[in-house]
């Protein structure tokens, strides 16, 4: 496996805010990565840095082995779809799809046409007058039909309805199967995409909290439910990611459990349930105690 993206000690400061804080990771070729985190966590800045749109304060970025800033050789192979993309004032969607092939050498016009029909996108309406969902559809279509070896989707489907989102997931997987490429997807709808993702990066307050393959991550935390006494006894010496309780009942999230742990829990009459990716991210980034949560995950991974 080879790395398409390599980042080391990357920092981006704006005045006294640090949007990206000493981040290092690499992205393997032909995988679908999830870049998850709360609003303002630094996801968009990170993607802007990787696509040469923004400039690093410190650290190194290599995309296809080269630094991406003003590097047309690298950028030709990159497509960055962002939620906040601006379009020229009088543009209609057809102008976007007419010009896209001039910039993306692998552009597939047939796929674009099919997606336009799927999303029922009006081609001759001014972009300013499109709905939020239709605006997102333009980005999604460009992102898929450009078939760039490295494609970034930053919150690609704001305003898209559930049917349209499913079309996006289906077409992405379908096309990914036929034309493997590297995809980095940032989204808030973590549960919807969790089956799509092969690798997960979680970023919070500019720091990289998790860099792990999705399979490992899914089993890395468990919620233990039962009587307060039972649960307390079971989790006594473990670090707790999250705790909930109603009356005599308690629900506690802990790190990875061994088969012995599981057997013991069952003996104690406790219920175990896996924690979804979304819950995991919420627990990790929801509190200010992220550092201790992170340690638990690292130990259990």
């Amino acid at each position: 496996m080879s790395a398409v993206v390599e980042v080391s000690h990357l920092t981006r400061r704006f005045g006294d805010t640090t949007a990206v804080d000493d981040v290092s990771f690499s992205v393997q070729k032909n995988t679908i990565h999830g870049l998850l985190g709360r609003n303002g966590a630094g996801k968009t800045t990170l993607m802007q840095l990787l696509t040469g749109q923004d400039f690093a304060t410190r650290g190194e970025i290599r995309v296809f082995g080269e630094q991406p800033v003003e590097n047309s050789g690298v950028l030709k192979n990159v497509c960055f779809i962002k939620e906040s993309q601006r379009y020229p004032d009088d543009f209609k969607p057809r102008h976007v799809f007419t010009s896209a092939p001039w910039f993306f050498p692998n552009w597939d016009a047939a796929l674009a046409d099919r997606l336009i029909a799927d999303f029922r996108l009006p081609l001759n309406r001014r972009i300013k007058k499109l709905s939020r969902g239709q605006l997102s559809a333009i980005g999604v279509i460009v992102g898929l039909a450009s078939r760039a070896p490295l494609t970034f989707f930053d919150e690609p489907y704001l305003g898209l309805d559930a049917v349209a989102r499913q079309i996006f997931y289906d077409r992405l997987l379908e096309d990914f199967g036929e034309h493997p490429r590297t995809v980095i997807l940032s989204t808030h709808l973590i549960d919807e995409v969790s089956n799509l993702l092969e690798h997960v990066l979680v970023i919070d307050e500019g720091k990289l909290l998790i860099d792990q393959d999705a399979e490992t991550l899914r089993g890395s935390a468990t919620t233990v439910v039962g009587t307060r006494q039972g649960v307390d006894a079971f989790v006594a010496d473990r670090e707790v990611l999250h705790r909930d309780g109603v009356g005599g009942l308690a629900s506690v999230t802990v790190g990875r459990l061994t088969p012995q742990d599981r057997a013991r829990a069952t003996e104690m009459g406790l219920e175990l349930s896996p924690v979804s990716l979304q819950q995991l991210v919420v627990r990790l980034t929801g509190s200010s105690r992220t550092s201790s949560s992170q340690t638990v995950l690292e130990q259990s991974a």
Partner: protein, 263 residues
């Protein structure tokens, strides 16, 4: 991370089309919406022309004395009607950076290729529109002001009725370039430094102008300033505009080199 120093891993796999094709793609992107690039300027021009024709006709119809007609004709020489068309070009120059630049970057264009492609577009459009205006000016002169003694294209500012077509073309061309590049460069300041940049630049510009006026006034140099304009004539002044045009083109490039489009 020792891997960072390795040579390009995907050297063979990634496409590397030539730089020329990138620049050409930017030119095509600027021109893809033919309506606002070509149709709107002509509609503005047609609108101004119709209004002017109406005014000439009123003058022509109400003044019957031949000497008075000549008098009116001399006055019409100073037509500023074409000015509107150049203002629209200033707006197009601003929009090309304010809207097309963030879009082009989303299409993985480098800033360098964007600026070179934009400059090429401005030059091509200036040449095209100047050629059209030159033809219209020749028709105007040949038909003695569209049969009504009016002046719009062959006005005093663009050489007057006696100018050669090449001189006219050059003056139109320089004017178009000036408005495109100055518009685009103003927009690069906004892209790079947002509102603060605009405030600082226009504030500084205002101060510099006041300082200039003060300097000229206190040294009693107004006559020599007037003499400069007089000796250069409108054509000379327009030709001198190439200096700020070139300065704008170069500074715009360096400002944009470090700009990041934001929403």
């Amino acid at each position: 991370m020792s891997t960072l120093t390795q040579p390009a891993l995907d050297e063979a796999r990634i496409d590397r089309p030539g730089r020329a094709s990138n620049i050409l793609a930017v030119v095509r992107l600027h021109l893809v919406n033919r309506y606002s690039v070509f149709a709107v300027p002509w509609m503005i021009m047609a609108g101004i022309f119709v209004v002017n024709v109406a005014i000439w006709w009123i003058i022509f119809a109400s003044v019957s004395n031949e000497a008075d007609r000549m008098d009116a004709r001399d006055g019409l020489e100073y037509s500023g009607a074409l000015f509107y068309i150049f203002v629209y070009m200033l707006v197009l120059g601003i929009q090309s950076v304010a809207y097309t630049f963030p879009f082009a970057l989303g299409f993985s264009v480098t800033r360098r290729d964007f600026w070179l492609g934009s400059a090429l577009t401005f030059i091509a459009l200036s040449a095209f529109f100047s050629a059209c205006l030159t033809v219209l000016a020749s028709i105007e002169v040949a038909t003695h002001g569209w049969g009504l003694g009016g002046t719009m294209f062959a006005s005093f500012y663009f050489g007057g009725a006696d100018a050669s077509w090449i001189e006219r073309f050059g003056l139109y061309f320089a004017s178009y370039l000036f408005f495109y590049f100055v518009g685009a460069t103003i927009a690069t300041i906004y892209q790079r430094w947002r509102n603060n940049g605009m405030l600082v630049v226009f504030g500084t510009l205002g101060l510099v102008m006041i300082a200039g006026i003060a300097l000229v006034s206190f040294t009693n140099s107004w006559p020599s300033v007037g003499a400069w304009f007089d000796s250069n004539g409108p054509s000379g002044v327009i030709a001198w505009s190439l200096v700020p045009t070139v300065i704008a083109a170069i500074t715009g490039y360096f400002i944009l080199r470090r700009a990041t489009p934001k929403n």
